[in-house]
């Protein structure tokens, strides 16, 4: 019996099979990266009869949006969205008074603030509260735009302080930390965060 030589497997159709799979994945793929504005909601306190925290009027930056997407700031200024960032920055960075005294640190003026130090505006970034009150009928797009501007104000202040102190902006530090996390970087980031803490209050919407 003559042994037949092993004939090679025909690989010509491999390309076809691969193409078929390729087209399947091409069609089903979605490459959108989920991104968004992240917020941490305030915890609900279990305590029923807890005391209201009293915050001085000058330490609160009031933003009110009505159902026609009109914005009122500090109850007397009618502004557009892109003006909020500047106003919020001026307010947070004012540094007109002393910070709250804690166990480890006595009350001290804000030594990194570059604001006007007006006695009529916020005392210290750690005391400055931004209050955003919206109407139930406000559109979500407007709400997000304002949140975005507030976020931008904080980021810019942190960036500025970062450049001054570490020659590296807050955004860059975050990026560095992502590439190679280290304790010293984390410390810097936490310092910047605590220097300009985000204190945003959202009261009940206008009915």
């Amino acid at each position: 019996m003559a042994r037949r030589e092993n004939s090679e497997i025909n690989a010509g159709s491999m390309a076809d099979i691969a193409f078929l799979l390729l087209i399947f994945f091409l069609v089903t793929t979605t490459m959108d990266v989920d991104s968004g504005i992240s917020r941490k909601l305030p915890e609900k306190s279990q305590d029923q009869n807890q005391q209201d925290v009293i915050v001085k009027e000058k330490n609160v930056f009031d933003i009110v949006v009505n159902r026609n997407n009109q914005i009122l700031v500090e109850n007397d200024q009618y502004v557009t969205v892109n003006e909020i960032k500047k106003l919020a920055m001026d307010f947070i960075d004012n540094g007109g008074g002393l910070s709250t005294a804690k166990d480890d640190a006595p009350a001290a003026p804000c030594d990194y603030c570059k604001g006007a130090r007006s006695p009529l505006s916020s005392d210290h970034p750690s005391k400055a509260v931004i209050s955003l009150q919206s109407d139930r009928g406000t559109t979500y797009g407007m709400y997000i735009s304002i949140q975005n501007e507030i976020e931008a104000a904080y980021t810019e202040l942190r960036n500025r302080l970062g450049l001054e102190k570490y020659k590296r902006s807050y955004d860059d530090l975050l990026k560095d930390y992502k590439d190679n996390p280290s304790e010293s970087l984390n410390e810097k980031i936490e310092f910047l965060k605590n220097s300009y803490p985000q204190i945003i209050s959202e009261p009940e919407p206008i009915k």
Binding site: L21, L22, L26, T30, S38, R39, P42, T139, M142, I144
Partner: protein, 156 residues
């Protein structure tokens, strides 16, 4: 005729031997980068607002998504809330989040994020209601899903 034949003989065939390799390379790329769409939208696809101060959502496996938008039927007014494959009421949001939490390991629960994908025409009232419900069950990490861009004017 003989002229044509001569020419044909001179043309070398393009080698297609490396074609499968190229195709396989593409195939692997798409296989790795692909994420399968897991839910069918019952509401109109939310038109996400634009923002420039966005953060990437990490750890996709720990994200539960809530969609808010208009109904596909134009006659039905108001915002609809969709999770997984059904449209639900605001008061059912906690049970959805709790069922999502039950699927994860206990130590991962505190890293779970709720991503709200809402249409830019939606009412803030609906969003605030959802936020209130999330606060009730202590699911405090929230991300408002947006597209990255600088054109804030298009939001309103």
């Amino acid at each position: 005729m003989s002229k044509f034949k001569k020419k044909k003989k001179g043309l070398p065939a393009i080698s297609t031997a490396s074609l499968p390799d190229i195709v396989f390379m593409l195939l692997f790329f798409f296989m790795v980068s692909t994420t399968m769409r897991e839910t069918d939208l019952l509401i109109k696809k939310p038109n996400l607002p634009v923002a420039n101060e966005v953060k990437k959502l990490e750890m996709k496996s720990l994200v539960s998504t809530i969609y808010v938008g208009k109904s596909k039927d134009a006659r039905i007014a108001g915002d609809k809330i969709q999770v997984n494959d059904k449209i639900i009421d605001v008061k059912d949001v906690p049970s959805f989040i709790l069922s999502e939490q039950a699927l994860r390991k206990e130590e991962e629960v505190k890293f779970m994020t709720t991503s709200i994908k809402a249409d830019k025409e939606a009412n803030v009232g609906t969003i605030l209601d959802i936020k209130e419900q999330l606060r009730d069950i202590n699911a405090l990490k929230v991300s408002f899903s947006t597209t990255k861009g600088n054109d804030l004017k298009s939001n309103f």
